[in-house]
């Protein structure tokens, strides 16, 4: 029981320290807000509203019940596309990494996929799926897929052969080999790829929505643009970036720390 309470205390301390270190990021964000305010004051509200105007517009959108559902719709699409590419990309990437032949074959295809601009995929998706959930989800999936695939493949390819032999010599069970030797190494490649892909998925989904759907943050941006409503456009952008920041710093960064501390141990 004692070690458990010690563990809980350690976890609470490290979480507290992590959350407290957020003040540094907050300070930088406030400095950014100051520059934004100064610029906005120079250009006027039609060109660039101040952060306070954008935030108050966003608060009004939330109060009117407009912002919540749109954000949820966008989040659903982005996460669906992202989840799909995590599942498919990781599995295929791991598989490709195991065999040298498969990696050789995969490389040019990945180059093609990475080189293809997401907007081109969007046009194809519009033709295939029409105006609905399918188009943004597919575009997100296909844009994130190569990033995750390459991460997974490199993780497997760079496994230390000597470590494998050591594990063999000590007669480690397959399960132990997997969890203690292979997985920590592969995850250290896979995880940054996932984080990069998640950031990308948010940008892609809004672009896809802007051109293909009638709901979601992207569609709301299209509407506010057509009304020349800079404050509302800025409010939606703030909502988008705010959600991304929250996911990044409250979900992924702590997870990454956890994974990395596991690796160093």
């Amino acid at each position: 029981m004692k070690w458990r309470s010690g563990l809980i205390q350690e976890w609470a301390t490290s979480t507290g320290n992590y959350l407290w270190s957020g003040w540094g990021s907050l300070a930088s964000l406030c400095l950014f807000m100051a520059i934004w305010t100064l610029t906005a004051q120079g250009f006027g509200p039609l060109i660039l509203p101040t952060p306070l105007e954008a935030l108050s517009t966003l608060a009004r959108l939330f109060q009117a019940g407009e912002a919540g559902p749109e954000i949820l719709i966008t989040a659903r699409r982005a996460l669906a596309g992202f989840g799909l590419s995590v599942a498919v990309g990781s599995l295929l990437g791991l598989a490709a990494g195991v065999s040298l032949t498969a990696s050789m074959m995969a490389r040019p295809i990945i180059t093609v996929l990475v080189g293809m601009p997401p907007i081109a995929w969007l046009i194809l998706a519009l033709l295939w799926f029409g105006a609905g959930d399918g188009t943004p989800i597919f575009t997100v999936f296909i844009a994130c897929f190569p990033i995750i695939f390459v991460g997974a493949m490199q993780g497997t390819r760079t496994l230390d052969g000597q470590l494998k032999e050591v594990a063999q010599m000590f007669g480690l069970s397959t399960w132990m080999k997997l969890t203690d030797v292979y997985l920590p190494h592969v995850v250290s490649y896979l995880f940054p790829a996932w984080i990069a892909a998640l950031g990308m998925s948010w940008k892609i989904v809004v672009m896809a929505e802007l051109l293909s759907t009638e709901d979601g943050i992207g569609a709301a941006l299209a509407v506010s643009r057509s009304h020349l409503d800079t404050a509302a456009s800025m409010a939606w952008i703030v909502a988008l970036v705010g959600t991304l920041l929250a996911i990044e710093y409250l979900l992924l960064e702590p997870l990454k720390r956890k994974v990395e501390s596991w690796r160093t141990l």
């Binding site: 320290n17 003040w23 300070a27 807000m33 100051a34």
Partner: protein, 408 residues
């Protein structure tokens, strides 16, 4: 008669053992005198000082440049010598510095009659002489690690000169004093990072079993100094602007960020660690209050600035004088209860004063804050009088430290 005067002078000889001794005594005395007069004037017992720029400006100026100025002189003349290993300042020079400080106080109090020029000359001469005294050792030090003190003090002198120039031209001199407030906060961060690192590590070592020693990290400190400087420049150039509000929030967040280094477990509860820790809390809350005021359209400037001055500045001067004042007089650290009590009174004074500006009970809270402040410095003076004015217990001369560490 002459014999009596002679005997009195001989009895004061121990005051001049080390430069900080007369200055720390003056700091606490001026805290009592300047605030006592202000409280008397607020209550209506004493006349409001009728001086150029008005009574509020006098109050702010005396506590920023009189009270804090004396403590800075005492601290720097001792600390810079210790940091750089330079020869001690000659007692005669200390007496000149002291005379300039006195003349400055007197001339400002009489500026209704004399005009502001005599006060300006004395006060600026005081700061320039202080800079001249520390500049040599700071520049001769090969590592030049402590030049930040020189820069901060020079900036403080410029803001003081600006203050007098504005006063002479009959313009609003308050922005120059607000500039000085931020410079004092920067000076606190520079000074505390070195002192606190030692105090915290001493406490940790005394408790035993430290995992990692406490380090005041330069990048965090630089971010805080940059944010405060940016806020200060914006407050000066764009008063009341939302940009200034965001920069105040940035300053608050960056000061909170400094506290990352301070969460060292139970050692935090030790007074040597807790009081500097509270200094940063007051500083962060002060800037946050100003920032929220500017962004929400309310005017919380006075509340915020008083948290900075009464809370952060008051507490940091108290802890520095209580620790350095005793250690460099040959005494060990003081474990008696008066220090936490005085710190608690100062903290309450800061909270009361901020609450006075924010709430509805302006007058009683204002008077309460001044009373708490007077109590705190009164206690300090009672318990430190002998330490600062009497002979050292080890019979030595000079500023050498007593060889003791804080105990748990």
């Amino acid at each position: 008669m002459m014999k009596k005067i002679d005997a009195f002078w001989r009895s004061t000889v121990t005051i001049w053992l080390c430069p900080f001794r007369p200055f720390f005594l003056l700091t606490a005395s001026h805290a009592l005198l300047a605030m006592g007069y202000w409280l008397g004037a607020l209550v209506g017992v004493l006349p409001m000082p009728d001086l150029p720029g008005g009574a509020v400006l006098w109050h702010a100026h005396e506590l920023i440049f009189g009270f804090a100025g004396a403590s800075i002189a005492g601290f720097l003349l001792t600390a810079i010598i210790e940091f750089t290993g330079a020869p001690p300042v000659h007692p005669g020079t200390v007496k000149i510095l002291l005379a300039l400080w006195f003349a400055g106080r007197l001339a400002y109090a009489l500026s209704g009659l004399l005009g502001v020029i005599p006060a300006a000359l004395f006060d600026l001469a005081f700061l320039l002489l202080l800079i001249a005294l520390i500049a040599g050792p700071l520049w001769r030090d090969t590592s030049r690690r402590h030049l930040a003190f020189f820069h901060a003090l020079s900036a403080l002198t410029v803001s003081h000169a600006g203050f007098y120039l504005a006063l002479w031209r009959q313009e609003d001199a308050m922005p120059w004093l607000l500039l000085a407030v931020s410079l004092l906060m920067i000076l606190i961060i520079i000074a505390l990072s070195g002192i606190s690192m030692r105090l915290v590590n001493d406490v940790l070592a005394a408790q035993g079993g430290i995992a990692a020693p406490y380090l005041a990290r330069p990048p965090r400190r630089n971010l805080a100094i940059f944010s405060i400087a940016a806020y200060s420049a914006s407050e000066f150039l764009l008063p009341g602007n939302a940009t200034t509000g965001w920069l105040a929030l940035a300053a608050a967040a960056s000061v909170f960020n400094l506290l990352n280094d301070w969460h060292v477990g139970r050692a935090l509860l030790q007074r040597w660690v807790m009081i500097p820790y509270l200094v940063y809390w007051c500083m962060a809350l002060g800037y946050a209050t100003i920032g929220f005021g500017l962004l929400s359209g309310g005017n919380f400037n006075s509340a915020g600035h008083h948290l900075l001055l009464v809370g952060a500045l008051g507490l940091s001067i108290l802890i520095v004088m209580a620790v350095a004042g005793r250690m460099h007089s040959g005494y060990g650290l003081d474990h008696r209860r008066w220090l936490p009590l005085a710190a608690g009174l100062l903290l309450s004074a800061g909270v009361f004063r901020a609450a006075a500006s924010l709430g509805n009970a302006y007058i009683p809270l204002l008077h309460g804050a001044a009373t708490l402040w007077l109590l705190a410095w009164g206690i300090y003076l009672v318990y430190s009088w002998k330490v600062l004015s009497g002979p050292r217990p080890d019979g030595h001369a000079g500023c050498d430290e007593a060889l003791t560490n804080p105990q748990t």
